[in-house]
């Protein structure tokens, strides 16, 4: 996954490098985005869709700070969470069936980010990084009640923004979304009585659990500079001098 992340990041930078430069200091931008979140193999989650919104204040031409909020919806990977239901009693012969237990999971990640931009005309490559928290909301029906857990998170990535108009543009970025103190076992809703304890090697075994998981997210966003009181925030767009 790290390799694909690096390749995608490099591709973004290469693509961006062929364009010109542009910057809008002291300006607020809001970027709703949507994309795909591919989880670490050890996370026990299938690839899912992700939505997010980035609110940024462009401190200077090359630097902005802001908040990132990401919501993702994914399903747990059934192969990693096996259940076993046994009918009858062993003394008289029993029969067990095996199931892959899945559940939908909602993930919310919020972070404070700093972004370095390299204006090259209409295309602006950028790198971003930040820290925050993530929370995983497990399915209340499957878990017999509201269940959630969360810890600190981090993200690092990059991409490029392409200006479409005076106040709008699109962004394409990739990020490594890092979850710390990750507890995959919390995603297993199966009661201990129904765990597959007897045939641990007969099924595809789950990857070794990790406390820090790296998840790959690629997003396409729509960047917009809102107009407050009829005026665009900040110093306003600079004229393209090229």
């Amino acid at each position: 996954m790290r390799l694909s992340f690096g390749v995608a990041l490099a591709a973004c930078v290469v693509v961006a490098g062929v364009a010109g430069a542009q910057a809008t200091p002291r300006q607020f931008t809001v970027t709703p985005r949507g994309g795909v979140l591919t989880f670490d193999d050890a996370a026990g989650l299938e690839t899912g869709g992700a939505l997010g919104v980035d609110a940024e204040y462009h401190v200077a031409r090359f630097f902005s700070i802001g908040t990132n909020l990401t919501y993702a919806r994914a399903s747990t990977r059934g192969e990693d969470f096996l259940g076993r239901i046994t009918y009858g009693i062993a003394e008289q012969g029993d029969t067990s069936f095996f199931f892959q237990i899945t559940q939908p999971v909602s993930i919310v990640e919020a972070s404070l980010n700093g972004t370095l931009r390299f204006p090259l005309g209409r295309l602006t490559p950028f790198v971003t990084g930040g820290a925050g928290v993530y929370t995983m909301f497990l399915d209340p029906q499957v878990n017999r009640g509201a269940t959630r857990f969360g810890r600190l998170s981090g993200n690092v990535g990059g991409g490029f923004a392409m200006q479409l108009s005076e106040r709008a543009g699109i962004t394409l970025d990739v990020r490594d979304l890092i979850f710390t103190d990750y507890e995959r076992a919390r995603l297993n809703p199966t009661d201990g009585r129904f765990q597959n304890f007897q045939f641990p090697t007969e099924f595809q075994t789950a990857p070794a659990p990790k406390s820090t998981v790296h998840n790959f997210m690629i997003s396409l966003g729509f960047m917009y500079a809102p107009r407050f009181g009829g005026q665009t925030t900040g110093a306003g767009p600079e004229e393209d001098t090229q």
Binding site: Q92, L164, E202
Partner: protein, 386 residues
């Protein structure tokens, strides 16, 4: 910045893209349980059998009264449930024991008369079992290798045959398993013994010539030590669960008594004819293994700490638990040539966990059945045609 020449179209396209991504992200599928996958597992309980556990008696005898006796002074060892040996020999030793110093002295390799009695059973026309004994004797022997489920071995050593030593007064009799049939001193594998001190005299006979005083005691099976506090007495225990899962057979035994030195646990699957119930094949599963994920062979669990997880009691001064807390037999049918077809365990009627002598025959099941189970019908008879 130059504005787009078609801003509305671009924004509409972007909006449509974002909505599409959003919809794909909001998959409301709540698939919690899939359909069962893989074959079902058919489980059954394993129970303690304790059939034909090695056992026996020892009788010290001497003539009583005046006149020339018709019965010599002797010590007689009778054993059952023995495993036939191929790489070892059972040897009988008589000695004096000093429990205080945990030592034995004046050890004599006994010479005696060996009587091997095999009891075969046939079924008569009325359907009743009819036992018939086949008795074979060998005089002046120093050891034997006989064993089997229906075999009783009696070894009688007289004072006359042993150079005039008063065997009645010897305080200990023990049986060892020796790799060297002519060994002059006993080895460390000493699975049977009897202490004369634990006996009481009983007088039998009607005349002064045939009257004798006898002291009889059960032969103890385990690890002999001169000091009774240090000896280990084997008591057959065990239980467990087994399952057939596709082409996998897994038996999980629990709470097994540690085998005496020179012994180990092995497993077998017994094929029986579905019509006559006669045994048609025996599949050896090999020595018991420690559980997942180690799967270490417990062949040497009698004398070594093979897997501390199941052998170490975590008690100060106790190096090995008297129990093997867990062990497994796990086989995949594709590794056994006789387990073939879509239902490889069809006609497998029983699982046996036996106590085997390390010097015994690997290709023959020991008579000492410790844990056993009958497989459920769905395994033995397979799926019936509709």
């Amino acid at each position: 910045m130059s504005a787009s020449s078609h801003p509305f179209a671009r924004r509409a396209s972007l909006a449509a893209l974002v909505v599409g991504v959003a919809l794909s992200a909001c998959d409301d599928d709540r698939a919690v349980l899939t359909d069962p996958f893989g074959p079902p597992a058919y489980g059954f309980a394993l129970a303690r059998a304790a059939i034909n556990v090695p056992r026996g008696t020892v009788t010290f005898q001497r003539p009583l009264g005046a006149g020339p006796p018709t019965n010599d002074t002797s010590v007689s060892v009778t054993l059952q449930g023995l495993d036939s040996l191929t790489t070892g020999t059972y040897r009988v030793w008589i000695a004096d024991v000093d429990p205080a110093t945990d030592t034995i002295a004046n050890i004599i390799p006994a010479v005696g008369l060996l009587t091997v009695t095999r009891t075969d059973t046939t079924i008569n026309e009325q359907g009743d079992p009819v036992p018939s004994e086949v008795v074979t004797t060998f005089d002046n022997v120093t050891g034997f290798t006989n064993g089997g489920p229906a075999t009783t071995v009696n070894f009688r050593a007289t004072s006359t045959a042993n150079g005039g030593v008063d065997v009645y007064l010897k305080t200990i009799v023990f049986v060892s398993i020796e790799t060297d049939a002519a060994a002059a001193a006993p080895g460390s594998v000493r699975p049977f013994w009897a202490r004369r001190a634990l006996t009481s005299p009983v007088v039998t006979g009607t005349t002064s010539q045939d009257s004798v005083v006898r002291r009889t005691t059960p032969a103890v099976f385990g690890n002999f030590r001169a000091n009774p506090d240090s000896q280990y007495v084997y008591n057959a225990t065990g239980r467990g669960l087994a399952s057939v899962f596709g082409d996998i057979f897994l038996a999980s035994d629990s709470g097994l008594a540690r085998p005496p030195q020179g012994y180990y646990y092995a497993g077998y699957l017994i094929h029986r004819d579905s019509a006559t119930n006669a045994v048609t094949d025996t599949v050896r599963l090999g020595p018991l293994l420690s559980p997942f994920p180690r799967y270490a062979s417990l062949l040497d669990a009698d004398q070594s700490l093979v897997d501390p997880v199941v052998q170490d009691p975590k008690l100060p001064g106790v190096p090995r638990s008297p129990l093997i807390t867990a062990g497994v037999h796990r086989i995949s049918a594709d590794t056994i040539s006789t387990l073939t077809g879509p239902l490889p365990f069809k006609n497998v009627a029983e699982y046996h966990l036996t106590l085997e002598a390390k010097a015994g025959r690997e290709d023959v099941e020991s008579p000492s059945l410790i844990v056993s189970a009958n497989t459920p019908d769905v395994v033995r008879f397979g799926k019936q045609a509709p």
